[in-house]
């Protein structure tokens, strides 16, 4: 990447299943205030552009963009909504800087999913209206189908997926932001209620509310703003086909392509040896294994074995989701990817408290937009 861009501010609310004492504006204000304080910037003067990541039906509005600016300090400023995950927002922010139009950008993503009383119906509403939606049912059956295809195709096992849950929920015990930190074993997961077989209750990340904000700046500015800028050295995003019928089930092409784009930008040829740790999407347990194989951090069919060998644990060679991931912290909907990025930034800064990894120089954050999409993004961060 020719233009150097740094994360100069990072902030987040805690992640909680219910935030009924705050409205969405107050929740976002809290996340933004923390990030701006962290950066030492006044958004009314020092930030050139604001990006939020949101979708109308998550929020309950026809044009959610209207309800964004005030709480971000963005009123009467260049501001936009990206209908994507937080890492898509990060990509837009980086492109704004690289195009020379702005110097400092704030990226916000959030979940206020507790305001939505009919989550399943809204997810179903994202299905193709003619071919898929009339089949109704709980929309997560698509994840069950994918998990089945992935396990059959790759040779990974249900027990290994349960191992992901155990690792991530345990990791979350050390994350003060996390909502679902808990000591669970493989047996607990295997014994949990069958939901979308082979997916069981504990294989599925529970929903939470929260707001995450990162402030990015071009190199010349970044050095003035931050003592410990964390550099974004590559990013990418990609979408596979929206047709459920047309997918190569069990393969996350969006993650492969997004990572390839990010690696190319960052000049990474051998991700397995060049990346020290990663935060990957784990809205369902199998997704962590699937994504690790897709982004080249594990060989095809090997992710489960690597996990069992301890490679992905906090004290392993390649710690994965030391934050606790979505399984341990909660599914933050479109903010999930930005939370992955936040954790990478905190680790690289040495601010990850009880879950701090040793000697980390470079980390990957990867996201997926959830059922029924085949869209995701990735970004590389370095000290």
């Amino acid at each position: 990447m020719e233009e150097k861009i740094a994360v100069v501010g990072a902030g987040s609310t805690k992640f909680r299943p219910d935030t009924s004492e705050q409205n969405w504006k107050e929740l976002m204000f809290e996340g933004a205030s923390k990030a701006y304080t962290d950066a030492g910037l006044n958004p009314r003067k020092d930030i050139d552009s604001f990006v939020t990541c949101a979708e109308d039906y998550w929020e309950g509005f026809s044009i959610y963009d209207e309800f964004v600016p005030d709480q971000l300090g963005a009123a009467m400023r260049p501001t936009c909504t990206v209908c994507g995950d937080g890492l898509h927002g990060l990509a837009i922010a980086c492109m704004q800087i690289m195009s020379g139009m702005v110097d400092v950008v704030a990226v916000e993503a959030h979940s206020k999913i507790s305001d939505l009383n009919t989550y399943n119906d809204v997810v179903l509403f994202a299905f193709d209206p003619i071919y898929n939606r009339p089949l109704a049912g709980h929309p997560y059956y698509v994840a069950g189908m994918e998990m089945n295809a992935f396990l059959n195709g790759s040779g990974n096992t249900e027990e290994q997926c349960a191992g992901v849950v155990s690792k991530n929920m345990t990791n979350a015990l050390k994350n003060p932001l996390a909502a679902y930190g808990k000591r669970v074993g493989v047996g607990d997961v295997m014994g949990s209620e069958p939901m979308f077989s082979p997916a069981k209750k504990l294989d599925i990340a529970e929903l939470v509310d929260g707001s995450v904000v990162l402030v990015l700046a071009r190199a010349e500015k970044a050095k003035d703003i931050a003592d410990n800028p964390i550099w974004i050295t590559g990013f990418g995003w990609n979408s596979g086909t929206p047709w459920l019928e047309g997918r190569t089930w069990g393969r996350a092409s969006y993650a492969e392509e997004a990572a390839k784009m990010a690696y190319k930008m960052a000049g990474i040829a051998e991700p397995r040896s060049e990346i020290g740790f990663a935060e990957v999407d784990d809205k369902f347990s199998y997704k962590e294994l699937m994504h690790l194989e897709a982004v080249g951090l594990a060989g095809r069919g090997q992710a489960g074995n690597d996990l069992e060998n301890g490679r992905f644990h906090a004290d392993g060679d390649l710690p994965i989701n030391a934050s606790g991931g979505s399984l341990g912290c909660g599914n933050l909907i479109e903010a999930s990817g930005l939370h992955r990025a936040l954790e990478v930034v905190l680790q690289l800064r040495g601010q990850a408290e009880g879950r701090q990894l040793n000697d980390v120089e470079r980390g990957l954050a990867q996201s997926w937009r959830g059922v029924p999409t085949a869209s995701g993004a990735a970004a590389i961060f370095e000290r």
Binding site: P69, Q71, S114, L116, V122, F125
Partner: protein, 172 residues
């Protein structure tokens, strides 16, 4: 060559839809929300029940913000103080609507507009209905006063005010 050249697309008339010439695929989405109102608006709604309008003050810019909010969007700082304001104000703009919310025609028009509220900073107000006036009399700049529902009918909603009516001479 004029662009766009030979634009594509096939028009479908509502007649074709109604008479079943085309297959129509319908879906009634089940989408329900219960928005947390938050600190500022919760108090605002509670005070509406009491028949009062309340605002928040920003210490930094000295504005009295209405509708109230916990942070000032100009200063990006938390607001500091609750301030009761009046239930009188001025019509900033208005419309006389012959459409309901789904664009259906109505014969008894709705008088609606923005009222800036006395006691709040300049231009700060809410959208609401007007009544006890006529198409001829209503005008921008007209002083108005809230007409509240009886206390037992109030539920903590913007509709606890039924409408705003012209302020009478000598009235506050």
């Amino acid at each position: 060559m004029t662009k766009p050249e030979n634009p594509r697309g096939v028009e479908l008339s509502s007649k074709q839809m109604k008479e079943g010439d085309v297959i129509v695929n319908k879906w009634d989405p089940r989408v329900k929300y219960a928005w947390a109102t938050g600190e500022a608006i919760s108090r605002f709604l509670e005070e509406m029940k009491n028949g009062k309008l309340i605002a928040r003050k920003c210490d930094s810019c000295d504005r009295i913000l209405f509708p109230p909010r916990m942070f000032c969007e100009e200063c990006f700082k938390p607001t500091t103080e609750w301030v009761y304001i009046k239930d009188t104000g001025k019509i900033e703009t208005y419309s006389i609507s012959y459409l309901d919310k789904d664009a259906r025609r109505i014969t008894d028009p709705i008088f609606v507009g923005v009222v800036s509220i006395d006691g709040a900073s300049e231009k700060m107000g809410i959208m609401h209905y007007f009544d006890e006036t006529t198409k001829e009399d209503i005008h921008i700049g007209m002083p108005v006063k809230a007409v509240w529902k009886p206390p037992e009918e109030r539920e903590g909603a913007i509709t606890d005010i039924k409408y705003f009516r012209p302020l009478k001479e000598g009235e506050e």
